[in-house]
Protein backbone atom coordinates (compact mmCIF):
# COMPACT_ATOMS: atom_id res chain seq x y z
CA UNK A 1 0.00 0.00 0.00
CA UNK A 2 1.16 3.34 -0.96
CA UNK A 3 0.71 6.75 -2.53
CA UNK A 4 -0.31 7.23 -6.15
CA UNK A 5 1.08 10.16 -8.10
CA UNK A 6 -1.86 12.00 -9.71
CA UNK A 7 0.37 14.80 -10.90
CA UNK A 8 4.15 14.80 -10.46
CA UNK A 9 4.59 18.58 -10.24
CA UNK A 10 7.55 20.31 -11.83
CA UNK A 11 10.44 18.29 -10.42
CA UNK A 12 9.71 15.90 -7.57
CA UNK A 13 12.42 13.39 -6.69
CA UNK A 14 13.21 10.92 -3.92
CA UNK A 15 16.24 12.18 -1.97
CA UNK A 16 17.98 11.30 1.27
CA UNK A 17 21.27 12.68 2.63
CA UNK A 18 23.14 11.47 -0.44
CA UNK A 19 25.51 8.80 -1.64
CA UNK A 20 28.49 8.96 0.68
CA UNK A 21 31.80 7.31 -0.21
CA UNK A 22 31.57 7.15 -3.98
CA UNK A 23 32.90 10.56 -5.03
CA UNK A 24 36.33 8.99 -5.46
CA UNK A 25 34.74 6.88 -8.21
CA UNK A 26 33.18 9.88 -9.96
CA UNK A 27 29.68 9.35 -8.54
CA UNK A 28 28.01 12.63 -7.48
CA UNK A 29 26.64 12.73 -3.92
CA UNK A 30 23.09 13.90 -4.81
CA UNK A 31 20.70 14.09 -1.84
CA UNK A 32 18.37 16.86 -0.66
CA UNK A 33 19.37 20.46 -1.39
CA UNK A 34 18.40 21.42 2.17
CA UNK A 35 19.51 18.71 4.62
CA UNK A 36 18.22 20.62 7.66
CA UNK A 37 14.64 20.95 6.42
CA UNK A 38 14.59 17.29 5.38
CA UNK A 39 15.95 16.29 8.81
CA UNK A 40 13.26 18.32 10.60
CA UNK A 41 10.50 16.74 8.48
CA UNK A 42 11.83 13.30 9.38
CA UNK A 43 12.14 14.09 13.10
CA UNK A 44 8.54 15.35 13.22
CA UNK A 45 7.25 11.99 11.97
CA UNK A 46 9.63 9.93 14.12
CA UNK A 47 12.03 8.88 11.34
CA UNK A 48 15.82 8.83 11.41
CA UNK A 49 17.05 12.20 10.12
CA UNK A 50 18.50 10.68 6.96
CA UNK A 51 15.34 8.85 5.81
CA UNK A 52 14.45 9.50 2.16
CA UNK A 53 11.89 12.27 1.52
CA UNK A 54 10.25 13.74 -1.57
CA UNK A 55 11.95 16.94 -2.67
CA UNK A 56 9.44 19.16 -4.51
CA UNK A 57 10.43 22.10 -6.68
CA UNK A 58 8.20 25.17 -7.24
CA UNK A 59 5.06 23.31 -8.30
CA UNK A 60 4.51 20.43 -5.88
CA UNK A 61 2.89 17.10 -6.74
CA UNK A 62 -0.63 15.75 -6.24
CA UNK A 63 -0.47 12.56 -4.20
CA UNK A 64 -3.41 10.29 -3.39
CA UNK A 65 -2.93 8.27 -0.22
CA UNK A 66 -3.98 4.66 -0.75
CA UNK A 67 -3.21 3.95 2.89
CA UNK A 68 -3.13 6.15 6.01
CA UNK A 69 0.23 7.53 7.13
CA UNK A 70 1.70 10.45 9.02
CA UNK A 71 3.64 13.04 7.05
CA UNK A 72 5.43 16.36 7.61
CA UNK A 73 6.18 19.06 5.07
CA UNK A 74 9.08 21.49 5.57
CA UNK A 75 11.17 23.95 3.57
CA UNK A 76 9.52 26.58 1.39
CA UNK A 77 5.75 27.14 1.42
CA UNK A 78 4.47 25.69 -1.85
CA UNK A 79 0.85 25.93 -0.70
CA UNK A 80 0.08 22.42 0.58
CA UNK A 81 -3.58 21.34 0.93
CA UNK A 82 -5.26 18.12 2.04
CA UNK A 83 -8.58 17.50 0.28
CA UNK A 84 -8.62 21.20 -0.55
CA UNK A 85 -8.08 22.46 3.02
CA UNK A 86 -4.80 24.27 3.79
CA UNK A 87 -2.34 21.87 5.40
CA UNK A 88 0.19 23.10 7.95
CA UNK A 89 3.90 22.95 7.23
CA UNK A 90 6.42 22.05 9.95
CA UNK A 91 3.79 19.92 11.69
CA UNK A 92 3.13 16.18 11.65
CA UNK A 93 -0.15 15.50 9.83
CA UNK A 94 -2.20 12.34 9.99
CA UNK A 95 -3.45 11.56 6.47
CA UNK A 96 -6.34 9.14 5.90
CA UNK A 97 -6.65 6.65 3.07
CA UNK A 98 -8.23 8.33 0.05
CA UNK A 99 -7.09 11.84 0.95
CA UNK A 100 -5.23 13.86 -1.66
CA UNK A 101 -2.24 16.10 -0.92
CA UNK A 102 -1.96 18.97 -3.40
CA UNK A 103 0.19 22.06 -3.71
CA UNK A 104 -1.50 25.21 -4.95
CA UNK A 105 1.70 27.08 -5.86
CA UNK A 106 4.75 28.69 -4.27
CA UNK A 107 4.03 31.33 -1.62
CA UNK A 108 7.58 31.61 -0.30
CA UNK A 109 10.76 29.79 -1.24
CA UNK A 110 10.79 27.16 -3.94
CA UNK A 111 11.58 23.76 -2.46
CA UNK A 112 9.55 21.68 -0.02
CA UNK A 113 10.33 18.33 1.57
CA UNK A 114 7.73 15.70 2.42
CA UNK A 115 8.68 13.05 4.97
CA UNK A 116 6.55 9.90 5.41
CA UNK A 117 6.52 8.05 8.74
CA UNK A 118 8.32 4.74 8.36
CA UNK A 119 9.92 5.78 5.07
CA UNK A 120 9.34 5.03 1.40
CA UNK A 121 9.91 1.61 -0.14
CA UNK A 122 12.71 2.59 -2.51
CA UNK A 123 15.73 0.35 -3.11
CA UNK A 124 19.18 1.47 -1.97
CA UNK A 125 21.70 2.06 -4.75
CA UNK A 126 25.26 2.44 -3.46
CA UNK A 127 23.89 2.90 0.04
CA UNK A 128 21.42 5.66 -0.81
CA UNK A 129 17.86 6.19 -2.08
CA UNK A 130 18.76 9.54 -3.66
CA UNK A 131 17.80 10.07 -7.29
CA UNK A 132 20.64 11.04 -9.62
CA UNK A 133 18.86 11.61 -12.90
CA UNK A 134 21.91 12.02 -15.14
CA UNK A 135 23.17 8.50 -14.43
CA UNK A 136 19.59 7.20 -13.94
CA UNK A 137 20.27 5.78 -10.47
CA UNK A 138 18.41 5.85 -7.16
CA UNK A 139 14.86 6.93 -6.40
CA UNK A 140 12.19 5.68 -8.79
CA UNK A 141 14.19 4.11 -11.64
CA UNK A 142 16.62 7.01 -11.47
CA UNK A 143 14.10 9.61 -12.60
CA UNK A 144 11.71 12.26 -11.31
CA UNK A 145 8.17 11.27 -10.37
CA UNK A 146 5.70 10.76 -13.22
CA UNK A 147 1.92 10.62 -13.37
CA UNK A 148 0.64 7.21 -12.32
CA UNK A 149 3.70 6.25 -10.27
CA UNK A 150 2.93 4.26 -7.15
CA UNK A 151 5.33 4.43 -4.21
CA UNK A 152 4.86 2.01 -1.35
CA UNK A 153 5.45 2.89 2.30
CA UNK A 154 7.86 0.72 4.27
CA UNK A 155 6.34 0.91 7.77
CA UNK A 156 3.48 3.44 7.65
CA UNK A 157 1.99 4.75 10.90
CA UNK A 158 -1.64 5.85 10.78
CA UNK A 159 -1.15 7.58 14.14
CA UNK A 160 1.82 8.88 16.07
CA UNK A 161 1.63 9.68 19.76
CA UNK A 162 1.84 13.29 20.95
CA UNK A 163 0.82 14.80 17.62
CA UNK A 164 0.61 18.20 19.36
CA UNK A 165 4.32 18.16 20.16
CA UNK A 166 5.30 17.36 16.59
CA UNK A 167 5.42 20.91 15.29
CA UNK A 168 7.73 23.90 15.11
CA UNK A 169 7.42 27.35 13.55
CA UNK A 170 8.18 27.46 9.80
CA UNK A 171 11.78 28.51 9.29
CA UNK A 172 12.05 30.11 5.88
CA UNK A 173 11.34 33.84 5.79
CA UNK A 174 11.46 35.57 2.39
CA UNK A 175 13.62 38.69 2.26
CA UNK A 176 14.40 41.48 -0.20
CA UNK A 177 18.00 40.34 -0.13
CA UNK A 178 19.76 37.36 1.38
CA UNK A 179 23.18 37.13 2.99
CA UNK A 180 25.08 33.91 2.36
CA UNK A 181 28.03 33.38 4.70
CA UNK A 182 31.10 31.97 2.98
CA UNK A 183 34.52 30.58 3.82
CA UNK A 184 37.14 31.75 1.32
CA UNK A 185 39.01 29.03 -0.60
CA UNK A 186 40.16 26.74 -2.08
CA UNK A 187 41.32 29.03 -4.94
CA UNK A 188 40.76 32.50 -3.47
CA UNK A 189 44.40 33.22 -4.36
CA UNK A 190 43.50 33.01 -8.07
CA UNK A 191 41.64 36.33 -7.81
CA UNK A 192 42.87 39.91 -7.65
CA UNK A 193 42.23 41.94 -4.49
CA UNK A 194 39.72 43.89 -6.54
CA UNK A 195 38.03 40.63 -7.60
CA UNK A 196 37.75 39.45 -3.98
CA UNK A 197 36.43 42.88 -3.01
CA UNK A 198 33.79 42.71 -5.73
CA UNK A 199 32.72 39.23 -4.67
CA UNK A 200 32.41 40.17 -0.98
CA UNK A 201 30.62 43.50 -1.47
CA UNK A 202 28.39 43.42 -4.53
CA UNK A 203 24.82 42.20 -4.93
CA UNK A 204 24.25 39.15 -7.16
CA UNK A 205 21.03 38.00 -8.80
CA UNK A 206 19.89 34.37 -9.03
CA UNK A 207 19.31 33.42 -12.70
CA UNK A 208 16.79 30.86 -14.00
CA UNK A 209 19.75 28.52 -14.55
CA UNK A 210 19.24 26.89 -11.21
CA UNK A 211 18.94 23.13 -11.01
CA UNK A 212 20.06 20.40 -8.61
CA UNK A 213 23.58 20.64 -10.03
CA UNK A 214 24.19 24.34 -9.53
CA UNK A 215 22.87 27.87 -9.22
CA UNK A 216 24.17 30.43 -11.68
CA UNK A 217 24.35 34.05 -10.52
CA UNK A 218 24.50 37.27 -12.48
CA UNK A 219 26.25 40.43 -11.33
CA UNK A 220 29.58 42.24 -11.42
CA UNK A 221 32.46 40.22 -12.89
CA UNK A 222 34.84 38.79 -10.27
CA UNK A 223 38.31 39.44 -11.63
CA UNK A 224 40.89 36.63 -11.87
CA UNK A 225 44.64 37.21 -11.74
CA UNK A 226 44.98 35.21 -14.98
CA UNK A 227 41.96 33.04 -15.77
CA UNK A 228 39.44 30.65 -14.24
CA UNK A 229 41.09 27.37 -15.20
CA UNK A 230 42.83 25.01 -12.78
CA UNK A 231 43.99 21.41 -12.80
CA UNK A 232 40.77 19.62 -11.78
CA UNK A 233 40.20 19.02 -8.08
CA UNK A 234 37.33 18.04 -5.77
CA UNK A 235 34.17 20.13 -5.36
CA UNK A 236 32.20 20.47 -2.12
CA UNK A 237 28.48 21.23 -1.70
CA UNK A 238 28.15 25.01 -1.68
CA UNK A 239 31.43 25.64 -3.49
CA UNK A 240 31.26 28.87 -5.50
CA UNK A 241 32.89 28.24 -8.82
CA UNK A 242 33.97 31.19 -10.94
CA UNK A 243 34.96 30.30 -14.49
CA UNK A 244 36.76 32.78 -16.75
CA UNK A 245 33.46 34.61 -17.41
CA UNK A 246 33.74 35.93 -13.83
CA UNK A 247 30.12 35.04 -12.94
CA UNK A 248 29.64 32.80 -9.86
CA UNK A 249 28.01 29.36 -9.93
CA UNK A 250 27.12 27.78 -6.58
CA UNK A 251 27.62 24.00 -6.78
CA UNK A 252 24.83 21.86 -5.31
CA UNK A 253 23.83 18.23 -4.68
CA UNK A 254 24.17 16.85 -8.22
CA UNK A 255 27.48 18.64 -8.93
CA UNK A 256 30.19 16.68 -10.69
CA UNK A 257 32.70 15.30 -8.21
CA UNK A 258 35.65 17.15 -9.73
CA UNK A 259 36.04 20.24 -11.86
CA UNK A 260 38.56 22.45 -13.58
CA UNK A 261 37.32 25.93 -12.63
CA UNK A 262 38.52 28.17 -9.80
CA UNK A 263 36.40 28.12 -6.64
CA UNK A 264 36.59 31.36 -4.71
CA UNK A 265 34.68 30.31 -1.59
CA UNK A 266 32.12 27.90 -0.12
CA UNK A 267 28.71 28.67 1.36
CA UNK A 268 28.63 27.49 4.99
CA UNK A 269 26.44 24.49 5.87
CA UNK A 270 24.00 26.42 8.06
CA UNK A 271 23.08 28.63 5.08
CA UNK A 272 22.16 25.73 2.74
CA UNK A 273 18.56 26.12 3.93
CA UNK A 274 18.52 29.64 2.46
CA UNK A 275 20.35 28.58 -0.69
CA UNK A 276 17.80 25.84 -1.40
CA UNK A 277 14.93 28.35 -1.34
CA UNK A 278 16.37 30.95 -3.72
CA UNK A 279 14.43 31.71 -6.90
CA UNK A 280 15.31 33.44 -10.16
CA UNK A 281 15.49 37.18 -9.48
CA UNK A 282 16.37 36.86 -5.78
CA UNK A 283 19.30 39.00 -4.60
CA UNK A 284 22.20 37.62 -2.60
CA UNK A 285 25.28 39.07 -0.96
CA UNK A 286 28.30 37.13 0.32
CA UNK A 287 29.83 37.70 3.74
CA UNK A 288 33.11 36.14 4.79
CA UNK A 289 33.35 34.10 8.01
CA UNK A 290 36.01 31.79 9.42
CA UNK A 291 35.83 28.01 9.30
CA UNK A 292 35.72 28.05 13.11
CA UNK A 293 32.64 30.31 13.05
CA UNK A 294 30.95 28.06 10.49
CA UNK A 295 31.65 24.90 12.47
CA UNK A 296 30.38 26.44 15.70
CA UNK A 297 27.18 27.41 13.88
CA UNK A 298 26.81 23.91 12.40
CA UNK A 299 27.29 22.22 15.77
CA UNK A 300 24.74 24.58 17.35
CA UNK A 301 22.29 23.74 14.57
CA UNK A 302 22.80 20.02 15.11
CA UNK A 303 22.29 20.46 18.87
CA UNK A 304 18.98 22.21 18.11
CA UNK A 305 17.91 19.24 15.98
CA UNK A 306 18.77 16.86 18.81
CA UNK A 307 16.71 19.01 21.17
CA UNK A 308 13.79 18.91 18.75
CA UNK A 309 14.08 15.13 18.57
CA UNK A 310 14.05 14.92 22.39
CA UNK A 311 10.94 17.10 22.54
CA UNK A 312 8.92 15.17 19.99
CA UNK A 313 10.03 11.87 21.48
CA UNK A 314 9.36 13.30 24.97
CA UNK A 315 12.75 12.23 26.26
CA UNK A 316 12.89 15.31 28.48
Amino acid sequence: MSITVWNPGLLTTVQDMGRVGYQQFGVPVSGVLDPRSAAIANILVGNPEDEAVLECTMLGPQLRFDQPNCIAITGGDLGPTLDGQPAASYRALSVKAGQVLRFTGPKSGCRAFIAFAGGLDIPLVMGSRSTYMKAKIGGLQGRKLEKGDVIAFREPKAELRDMGLRAIAPEFVPRAEYTLHVILGPQDDAFTDEGLGTFLSQLYTVTPEFDRMGCRLDGPVVQHKTNGDIISDGISFGAIQIPSSGKPIIMLSDRQTTGGYTKIASVISTDFRILAQLKAGDKVRFQQVSVQYAQDALLAQRAALRALRSTVDRRI
Binding site: A135, I137, I183, S232, S236, I268, A294
Partner: protein, 249 residues
Protein backbone atom coordinates in the same frame (compact mmCIF):
# COMPACT_ATOMS: atom_id res chain seq x y z
CA UNK B 1 58.26 8.55 0.31
CA UNK B 2 59.74 12.01 0.65
CA UNK B 3 57.31 14.89 0.73
CA UNK B 4 58.43 18.48 0.55
CA UNK B 5 56.23 19.90 3.28
CA UNK B 6 56.72 23.42 2.00
CA UNK B 7 54.88 22.45 -1.20
CA UNK B 8 51.89 20.96 0.64
CA UNK B 9 48.96 23.31 1.13
CA UNK B 10 45.78 22.92 3.18
CA UNK B 11 42.92 24.49 1.25
CA UNK B 12 39.57 25.37 2.76
CA UNK B 13 36.63 23.88 0.88
CA UNK B 14 33.87 24.72 3.35
CA UNK B 15 33.09 23.61 6.91
CA UNK B 16 32.89 19.84 6.35
CA UNK B 17 35.81 19.22 3.99
CA UNK B 18 39.30 20.38 3.11
CA UNK B 19 41.77 19.73 0.31
CA UNK B 20 45.41 18.76 0.83
CA UNK B 21 47.26 19.94 -2.27
CA UNK B 22 50.65 18.44 -3.11
CA UNK B 23 51.68 20.56 -6.10
CA UNK B 24 50.46 22.39 -9.14
CA UNK B 25 51.16 20.05 -12.03
CA UNK B 26 50.11 16.67 -13.35
CA UNK B 27 52.92 14.26 -12.56
CA UNK B 28 53.35 10.67 -11.45
CA UNK B 29 55.62 11.83 -8.60
CA UNK B 30 52.88 14.02 -7.12
CA UNK B 31 50.31 11.30 -7.66
CA UNK B 32 52.51 8.80 -5.79
CA UNK B 33 52.66 11.20 -2.82
CA UNK B 34 48.86 11.48 -2.85
CA UNK B 35 48.57 7.71 -2.93
CA UNK B 36 50.96 7.31 0.00
CA UNK B 37 49.12 9.97 1.99
CA UNK B 38 45.76 8.36 1.16
CA UNK B 39 47.00 4.98 2.45
CA UNK B 40 48.49 6.60 5.56
CA UNK B 41 45.20 8.41 6.24
CA UNK B 42 43.17 5.20 5.94
CA UNK B 43 45.48 3.50 8.44
CA UNK B 44 45.77 6.50 10.76
CA UNK B 45 42.67 6.02 12.87
CA UNK B 46 41.93 9.76 12.66
CA UNK B 47 38.26 9.88 13.66
CA UNK B 48 35.47 11.57 11.72
CA UNK B 49 36.78 11.01 8.17
CA UNK B 50 33.69 10.46 6.00
CA UNK B 51 35.04 10.28 2.49
CA UNK B 52 38.20 10.95 0.48
CA UNK B 53 38.54 12.09 -3.13
CA UNK B 54 41.95 11.81 -4.77
CA UNK B 55 42.55 14.03 -7.81
CA UNK B 56 45.55 14.90 -10.02
CA UNK B 57 47.36 16.90 -7.39
CA UNK B 58 45.34 16.76 -4.21
CA UNK B 59 43.33 14.71 -1.78
CA UNK B 60 39.96 16.10 -0.74
CA UNK B 61 38.91 14.97 2.74
CA UNK B 62 35.27 15.13 3.86
CA UNK B 63 34.90 14.97 7.64
CA UNK B 64 32.31 15.32 10.34
CA UNK B 65 32.95 18.43 12.48
CA UNK B 66 30.84 16.88 15.27
CA UNK B 67 33.70 14.37 15.63
CA UNK B 68 36.75 16.45 14.72
CA UNK B 69 37.04 20.19 14.08
CA UNK B 70 39.16 21.82 11.41
CA UNK B 71 42.10 22.90 13.58
CA UNK B 72 42.75 19.55 15.33
CA UNK B 73 42.23 17.72 12.02
CA UNK B 74 44.86 19.83 10.23
CA UNK B 75 47.24 19.27 13.13
CA UNK B 76 46.86 15.51 12.82
CA UNK B 77 47.15 15.57 9.02
CA UNK B 78 50.38 17.57 9.26
CA UNK B 79 51.79 15.02 11.70
CA UNK B 80 50.80 12.28 9.25
CA UNK B 81 52.59 14.05 6.39
CA UNK B 82 55.73 14.12 8.51
CA UNK B 83 55.60 10.32 8.81
CA UNK B 84 55.11 9.55 5.14
CA UNK B 85 58.71 8.42 4.70
CA UNK B 86 57.87 5.47 6.95
CA UNK B 87 54.98 4.36 4.77
CA UNK B 88 55.38 1.18 2.79
CA UNK B 89 53.37 1.63 -0.39
CA UNK B 90 52.23 -1.65 -1.90
CA UNK B 91 52.66 -1.88 -5.68
CA UNK B 92 49.65 -0.62 -7.62
CA UNK B 93 47.39 -3.07 -9.38
CA UNK B 94 47.36 -3.12 -13.16
CA UNK B 95 43.86 -3.83 -14.49
CA UNK B 96 43.81 -5.67 -17.78
CA UNK B 97 41.06 -4.27 -19.99
CA UNK B 98 40.35 -6.38 -23.10
CA UNK B 99 39.43 -4.32 -26.17
CA UNK B 100 38.01 -5.24 -29.56
CA UNK B 101 39.71 -2.66 -31.78
CA UNK B 102 38.33 -1.24 -35.04
CA UNK B 103 35.19 -2.24 -36.92
CA UNK B 104 31.81 -1.13 -35.61
CA UNK B 105 33.23 -0.94 -32.09
CA UNK B 106 36.05 1.42 -33.09
CA UNK B 107 34.81 3.42 -36.10
CA UNK B 108 37.58 6.04 -35.81
CA UNK B 109 40.56 3.66 -35.71
CA UNK B 110 41.22 4.32 -39.42
CA UNK B 111 41.13 8.11 -38.89
CA UNK B 112 43.49 7.90 -35.90
CA UNK B 113 45.87 5.76 -37.99
CA UNK B 114 45.83 8.16 -40.96
CA UNK B 115 46.24 11.16 -38.63
CA UNK B 116 49.25 9.52 -36.96
CA UNK B 117 50.76 8.24 -40.23
CA UNK B 118 50.54 4.66 -38.97
CA UNK B 119 48.69 1.48 -39.81
CA UNK B 120 45.72 0.52 -37.61
CA UNK B 121 47.81 -2.41 -36.34
CA UNK B 122 50.57 0.00 -35.24
CA UNK B 123 48.02 2.18 -33.44
CA UNK B 124 46.73 -0.89 -31.57
CA UNK B 125 50.27 -1.97 -30.72
CA UNK B 126 51.12 1.47 -29.34
CA UNK B 127 47.81 1.77 -27.46
CA UNK B 128 48.25 -1.65 -25.81
CA UNK B 129 51.94 -1.21 -24.96
CA UNK B 130 51.51 1.20 -22.04
CA UNK B 131 50.38 0.85 -18.43
CA UNK B 132 48.24 3.96 -18.00
CA UNK B 133 48.14 5.57 -14.56
CA UNK B 134 44.61 6.29 -13.30
CA UNK B 135 45.15 9.80 -11.93
CA UNK B 136 41.56 10.19 -10.82
CA UNK B 137 37.92 9.41 -11.57
CA UNK B 138 35.33 12.05 -12.32
CA UNK B 139 33.11 13.55 -15.02
CA UNK B 140 30.70 10.59 -14.87
CA UNK B 141 30.55 7.56 -12.55
CA UNK B 142 33.58 5.41 -13.35
CA UNK B 143 35.26 7.72 -15.86
CA UNK B 144 39.06 7.47 -15.53
CA UNK B 145 41.52 10.26 -16.24
CA UNK B 146 44.52 8.30 -17.56
CA UNK B 147 48.09 9.43 -18.02
CA UNK B 148 50.81 8.04 -20.22
CA UNK B 149 49.43 7.77 -23.75
CA UNK B 150 52.03 8.02 -26.51
CA UNK B 151 52.03 11.34 -28.37
CA UNK B 152 52.48 9.26 -31.54
CA UNK B 153 48.76 8.46 -31.63
CA UNK B 154 47.41 11.72 -30.17
CA UNK B 155 44.43 12.81 -32.28
CA UNK B 156 42.09 15.80 -31.90
CA UNK B 157 38.46 15.26 -30.87
CA UNK B 158 35.69 14.95 -33.45
CA UNK B 159 34.54 18.30 -34.80
CA UNK B 160 30.94 17.28 -34.13
CA UNK B 161 30.45 15.18 -31.00
CA UNK B 162 28.35 12.02 -31.27
CA UNK B 163 24.95 12.11 -29.57
CA UNK B 164 25.30 8.67 -28.02
CA UNK B 165 28.41 6.64 -27.44
CA UNK B 166 27.86 3.12 -26.07
CA UNK B 167 29.27 2.21 -22.66
CA UNK B 168 32.64 0.47 -22.96
CA UNK B 169 33.81 2.55 -25.92
CA UNK B 170 37.55 3.25 -25.84
CA UNK B 171 38.58 6.59 -27.24
CA UNK B 172 41.33 9.11 -27.84
CA UNK B 173 40.98 12.87 -27.34
CA UNK B 174 44.15 14.84 -27.92
CA UNK B 175 46.84 13.14 -25.80
CA UNK B 176 44.23 11.49 -23.54
CA UNK B 177 42.75 8.03 -23.75
CA UNK B 178 39.92 6.48 -21.77
CA UNK B 179 36.81 4.33 -21.58
CA UNK B 180 33.22 5.61 -21.56
CA UNK B 181 31.70 3.89 -18.48
CA UNK B 182 28.07 4.74 -19.37
CA UNK B 183 26.22 5.60 -22.56
CA UNK B 184 26.85 9.30 -23.08
CA UNK B 185 27.33 11.95 -25.73
CA UNK B 186 30.95 12.71 -26.55
CA UNK B 187 33.55 13.82 -29.04
CA UNK B 188 36.34 11.30 -28.54
CA UNK B 189 37.79 9.33 -31.46
CA UNK B 190 36.53 5.80 -30.86
CA UNK B 191 39.12 3.12 -31.56
CA UNK B 192 37.52 0.09 -29.90
CA UNK B 193 35.21 -1.23 -27.23
CA UNK B 194 35.63 -3.32 -24.10
CA UNK B 195 33.00 -5.85 -23.02
CA UNK B 196 34.06 -5.22 -19.40
CA UNK B 197 31.62 -3.17 -17.33
CA UNK B 198 33.69 -0.39 -15.80
CA UNK B 199 30.54 0.66 -13.91
CA UNK B 200 27.51 -1.27 -12.71
CA UNK B 201 25.48 0.45 -9.97
CA UNK B 202 24.00 -2.83 -8.75
CA UNK B 203 27.27 -4.72 -8.37
CA UNK B 204 28.98 -5.17 -4.95
CA UNK B 205 31.87 -3.12 -6.32
CA UNK B 206 29.96 -0.68 -8.52
CA UNK B 207 33.07 0.84 -10.07
CA UNK B 208 35.95 -1.32 -11.23
CA UNK B 209 38.90 1.10 -11.51
CA UNK B 210 40.39 3.09 -8.62
CA UNK B 211 42.62 6.15 -8.63
CA UNK B 212 46.26 5.12 -8.29
CA UNK B 213 45.81 1.84 -10.16
CA UNK B 214 46.97 1.34 -13.75
CA UNK B 215 45.08 0.15 -16.82
CA UNK B 216 46.62 -1.87 -19.62
CA UNK B 217 44.54 -2.54 -22.71
CA UNK B 218 44.78 -5.93 -24.45
CA UNK B 219 43.58 -6.53 -28.01
CA UNK B 220 41.00 -9.32 -28.32
CA UNK B 221 38.99 -10.81 -31.20
CA UNK B 222 35.24 -11.01 -31.65
CA UNK B 223 35.01 -14.52 -30.15
CA UNK B 224 36.74 -13.44 -26.93
CA UNK B 225 34.67 -10.25 -26.84
CA UNK B 226 31.48 -12.31 -27.05
CA UNK B 227 32.68 -14.75 -24.39
CA UNK B 228 33.58 -11.96 -21.93
CA UNK B 229 30.33 -10.10 -22.71
CA UNK B 230 28.39 -13.28 -21.86
CA UNK B 231 30.34 -13.66 -18.59
CA UNK B 232 29.66 -10.01 -17.71
CA UNK B 233 25.95 -10.51 -18.41
CA UNK B 234 25.96 -13.54 -16.10
CA UNK B 235 27.90 -11.63 -13.44
CA UNK B 236 30.75 -14.16 -13.45
CA UNK B 237 33.48 -12.14 -15.16
CA UNK B 238 36.49 -11.29 -13.03
CA UNK B 239 38.78 -8.62 -14.42
CA UNK B 240 42.38 -9.81 -14.58
CA UNK B 241 44.83 -7.77 -12.55
CA UNK B 242 48.44 -8.06 -11.42
CA UNK B 243 50.75 -6.01 -9.21
CA UNK B 244 52.74 -3.49 -11.22
CA UNK B 245 56.46 -4.15 -11.50
CA UNK B 246 58.74 -1.40 -10.25
CA UNK B 247 59.88 0.83 -13.09
CA UNK B 248 57.44 -0.68 -15.60
CA UNK B 249 56.19 1.55 -18.36
Amino acid sequence: MEVFMADVRFLLTGDTSLTVEFGNEISEAINTQIRAFHIALKNSGIPGIMETVPTYRSLMIHYDPSTILYDPLVKRLKALLGQLDQIQIPPSDVLEIPVLYGGEEGPDLGFVARHSGKTPEEVIRIHTSVEYLIYMLGFTPGFTYLGGMSQEIATPRLETPRVKIPAGSVGIAGAQTGVYPIDSPGGWQLIGRTPVHMYDPNRDTPILPQAGQYIQFRAIDQAEYDRIAAEEAAGTYVCRRHPREEGAR
